[in-house]
Amino acid sequence: MVISRTEAASALTDIEQTAGRSRVLKSYQIAGPILMVWGVVWAIGYSAMGLLPAERWGMIWLALDVAGAVATVLLSRRPKAAGKAGAGWRIGVGVLAIMAFFVASYAVFQPTTIAPAIVYPGLVTGLVYVGVGIVFMPRFLWIGAAVFAASLIGYFLFQPWLAFWMAAVGGGGLLLGGLWLRRA
């Protein structure tokens, strides 16, 4: 059996598309539980901001962020490749870079009221997820857009309850988004 050049090219395209789809679905499987972890982190952190005095927020967020970063690195390691270099360290460095960006932004801009400081992580996270969605995993585009929009809606319409809004809608949204990715 001999095949034509067109048929061979079409088969190679099929192979590339299938491999690409496989990689994206695998990435969703890994990213889903990580997103769910951050949903819980947001829910606890923002609830604490709504319930506790401001001087305790820093320590609570520090503990939650460290827990979230450690869970992210552990969950992004491939099960059979434990001990081998994988994507875990890259994602860990990415999480640290985003945290450093938040700290630097607050240090430079020094928000004088609390509402912008509460909503800012939601806007940046939404933007980062939209970027991930455009470049690599399309479902992140919708999750990022939802987080971004929910943060803005909370800021303009529900400012007196913004911390609880971010806990319920932001944290809950990330949890649901994680479930959606996991089921892909």
Partner: protein, 100 residues
Amino acid sequence: MAQLDELIHQPLRLKIMAALHAEPGGEPVEFSRLKAVTQATDGNLGSHLTTLEKAGYVEIAKDFVGKKPRTRVAMTLAGRKAFRRHVDYLREVVEGVSGD
């Protein structure tokens, strides 16, 4: 030497082999994910997996996670070699080394 593998060249089997080959470290893939990747029906996918298994290109393992049955498919070493030979052949045809 690169050569056409008629067994792999069938469109759905080609997708199955491509999906399994893309797995890092040759990790097994669950049937449900393979179905999502190849966009095939249960029956069609099962039938072509059996063909590939008989040829020694894939291994199918069935077990239970709790009470839920699970089927996982992995590419064998022979399957990996055959797939690479087939892809090399396709590239040669596209580049005009062989074929028409």
